[in-house]
Symmetry: C5
Subunit: 269 residues, 5 copies
Amino acid sequence: MDRTTLLGIVIGVTSLVLGFVLEGGHIGALFQLTAALIVFGGTLGAVTISFPWSQLKKIPRMLKEAFTEPKRDPHKLIEELVELATVARREGLLALESRAMEHPHPFLREGLMMAVDGVDPQALKQILELTIDTREEEKLRAIRIFEAAGGFAPTMGIIGTVMGLVHVLSNINDPSNLGPAIAVAFIATLYGVASANLLYLPLANKLKARLQEERLELEMMLEGILSLQAGEHPQLIQTKLAAFVQGRVPAKAEREETAYAQAQSSRSA
Amino acid sequence: MDRTTLLGIVIGVTSLVLGFVLEGGHIGALFQLTAALIVFGGTLGAVTISFPWSQLKKIPRMLKEAFTEPKRDPHKLIEELVELATVARREGLLALESRAMEHPHPFLREGLMMAVDGVDPQALKQILELTIDTREEEKLRAIRIFEAAGGFAPTMGIIGTVMGLVHVLSNINDPSNLGPAIAVAFIATLYGVASANLLYLPLANKLKARLQEERLELEMMLEGILSLQAGEHPQLIQTKLAAFVQGRVPAKAEREETAYAQAQSSRSA
Amino acid sequence: MDRTTLLGIVIGVTSLVLGFVLEGGHIGALFQLTAALIVFGGTLGAVTISFPWSQLKKIPRMLKEAFTEPKRDPHKLIEELVELATVARREGLLALESRAMEHPHPFLREGLMMAVDGVDPQALKQILELTIDTREEEKLRAIRIFEAAGGFAPTMGIIGTVMGLVHVLSNINDPSNLGPAIAVAFIATLYGVASANLLYLPLANKLKARLQEERLELEMMLEGILSLQAGEHPQLIQTKLAAFVQGRVPAKAEREETAYAQAQSSRSA
Amino acid sequence: MDRTTLLGIVIGVTSLVLGFVLEGGHIGALFQLTAALIVFGGTLGAVTISFPWSQLKKIPRMLKEAFTEPKRDPHKLIEELVELATVARREGLLALESRAMEHPHPFLREGLMMAVDGVDPQALKQILELTIDTREEEKLRAIRIFEAAGGFAPTMGIIGTVMGLVHVLSNINDPSNLGPAIAVAFIATLYGVASANLLYLPLANKLKARLQEERLELEMMLEGILSLQAGEHPQLIQTKLAAFVQGRVPAKAEREETAYAQAQSSRSA
Amino acid sequence: MDRTTLLGIVIGVTSLVLGFVLEGGHIGALFQLTAALIVFGGTLGAVTISFPWSQLKKIPRMLKEAFTEPKRDPHKLIEELVELATVARREGLLALESRAMEHPHPFLREGLMMAVDGVDPQALKQILELTIDTREEEKLRAIRIFEAAGGFAPTMGIIGTVMGLVHVLSNINDPSNLGPAIAVAFIATLYGVASANLLYLPLANKLKARLQEERLELEMMLEGILSLQAGEHPQLIQTKLAAFVQGRVPAKAEREETAYAQAQSSRSA
């Protein structure tokens, strides 16, 4: 369960609705079926035209992914890869066969199996990199659906409001009703801008952040597999893999750098 | 027949029109000839200036492409390429001559013919990559016509509305008529924004998604041709080609990865 | 004469003006000197600040280029290059000297002359690529003037309209005159948006499309010169050069691919 | 303490508030709780959905970084690196061990330690470059939170204003109150645009400028470590490192270039 | 003196003011202190937060650069470099020492000195390229200040106008005063949009155009230094350097190409 996704939606929607109610607004005034039809139907239409079915059918899976939090632990992964490298170095690559075959992670499993099977390092690297790239590209294409929805929704809101104004202004006999009618027309803009900025675009952002972490994990696996295939020293492999997560825990490092800079500047004063 | 293209247009247009009618609007109020002339004529003009005739004449073909769905089956393609590689390895490249000559796909046919004819691998790679790139570039240029139309249409809508307001405000003698006249002026904005967001831009998106799949297919063919020319083992070729579609069927792989992450995190708990 | 440039302007302007007149507007209402002064003068000023004189003075030449259509024939060019390669292979590079010296195209002439003069292939490649790049960059810089004008014009239109409104609202004594005065203020927006979207931006697009074709032609010449200098077989040179235009005539190829896809999908059904 | 960050906020906020007050506005009119709730709550919600917790928790550290100014002195750093290189060249890499271990800067310390430990130059380069890249990427991801807030805030302002207008227009019984009510609705737009343009976006800019300087420092260290490991002459190392800061003190160089250009042009006159 | 910068500002400002006056506007209505405070103070604040002091202090120098025109003459530069190469080839690199030391251009001087000092070609290339890149990056960072101001100014204008409207609408007792008060509020928008589009953005454009020419000059010097160090034939160096400016004088070349295209098309007719 990724708490920030749900929490963010709750914070956002609550702030908007509460703000409206505290101003004295009637909560019922925010619900309007025709505006919803225009904005959500229009966005759905534009998205459906934009993407092939093979992409569209991934929406539920991507949604689920945005709300669940994978528990990646790169440090555990480094440990595991170093251990595998130690075995490979001591007992040969073949000694990894049973562990590779049973490994729960499909990328690591297939990569290790190919290394065990003696696939040429050059070819192995090419295959694993291509796998990472196509996987990322596939996910990016699904994420672009949310970005497209975030682009279309506000324009559908504008269309809904303009249509409302066209309707209102064409039948302007009763000026006393003008205000409420325009208010209704504005609801479409509200739906369009709010759905884009509280749903589609933030979800796309979250999914992209997730994808980046996933890619990092796969790249660490790739580096680990190639290094153990090359028979590199486990210590060196550890150092290499640690560089991938160097940026992750810079709190202490940063304090030291700040201290360094301060010391330097006091010396120069 | 690409059902999503047509379906999306139906969903989008129906949502907009239905929303307008349910609000009590007169469907006739949405049709206005002068607005259509300004928006569609203006967009056509801007697009015609923007592109040379050699590109403009591709519009009908691109439109047709957006509404038809090619039945690409990358797994079948892999099978075929592996089979060709098996023949080439067993009986030599010349054994492929008749199959190459008769192959229905022009890129594969010409690529195989060149391999059979003994074109130098380096040159073959250069030629096939250049072919893929120029084909993609050519299609992208045609797709940019739709993107350009999607950029010009809303501005033409604004021009139409401003011209309408100029007309209305210059002849403001009869204030009772002001509302309906402004309503009419807004129709141009409606046409501009709706045509861009329900036609031009989504169609450009669809065509780009299509192009990406096409490119993937050609790249698989390229990899297959070069690999069989190099006499690589069919098993390796299969593995290489499978990496292209790894990202395509990740449902099972993803479940495994999730299970892996969960297991890892429970272990760490 | 590039008919699409002129035709597009005619279509665009006619659509706008006709739409306005059909709505009952007075054509004279669209002409207003002060709005023109603000929008076109302001755009001219912003563009003049933006670019050095060495770029600005290219505007007339670029305009002329947008309205004339070069008759490039890549197939003829291939023929010519292959013929030159045949001569070079049979009789040696020196046999090209007189043809090179008299060649009407300066890039081809100078490139051939250098090849004949025995310039080192590496250096020749570097020089010709640099020539292509700097030529493209120079043209792009001039095209960016039109793009900049297309960016500045609508903002100048907004400035004109806001200034008009400032003037109108400061002297609001006569409310009966308010409508026509606001109408006049809107003309500036009209000029700004229309000039950007019917002139500056489409012309920049056309010039970029032209530039792309020009680059392709120069790259074909580069490839041809280097290949004939290397003494490659004319047949191979022809195949290589054909890859540049493969994307150009894909009508037949595409029909075949569609047929291939259909056949494949029926087999899989 | 980075004075420009605080100073800029003071200048910006003072200018806005003072301008409002000088126009005769009541300062109290700028404070409105419901608008603040909608804009800041909505932005917080959108940002919370957009980023995983591992990024969000970096906000306080990034904020602190935006307000403090590191005293980097690239010239001191060059001095130090050249001195280290001199020692390494004279007494061997091992002579650096104690200095490396005690070095306050973590990147330099670890890089030097690896050089002393005899890590292969190729591997050392790969590890240090990866460290720089992942650190930069990690910081960029945190900076993108501010950029996202700067993108969401104005749209939340629009949402707040539209909701205010919906409320106002639905209860239009008392037209005398219409003005002040609309004024209140506009406060949300004010909050959204001002928070984005006086806080989120400028802070993101500052953090990116800071990041660029940090990267430069790390790249100088990388170059220094690799050069001293390769046993290059300290003089050459100094020249190389000086090139990193060449662009930093161009005042004198520029004057000379100007003089050169002037001289050249007078000669050509 | 770069005449186009000043001329452009004069053209732009005159057009706007003259247009306003010709429409019957009072020139005094365009001056308003509070709007200026909000727009220019707000922009200054946002820019001050955005950039470190080390960048901000370059503003005056960049401004001066935008208004002065360097008299670069690439053809003279080629002449000079070819002459230096001739000397180096005939009498050896050392013969350049005195000329190098006295050369007024710092980049050329230091580059030649290093070549004379026998710096390894690989290292020399790396150092000179790094110098060019860091110089360009440093200048770009300063130019981005103007671009940032051009982005912030219009939003500050919107803030000023919204604040003005808030003030006006809160005190709507005197409707007769409504028009002039709104007019005053619009002045802020005017300042924001006009300062961005007649100052900040065009100046950034000009500075970037200038930077591009500067880079070209430095790259020619780099090429020249490396070539003369390698002892290449002056004739070849001349041809190489000429390729940098090939794009600069294409008038004749283009006429020839047009003639070529015409001839070709008439032959094909």
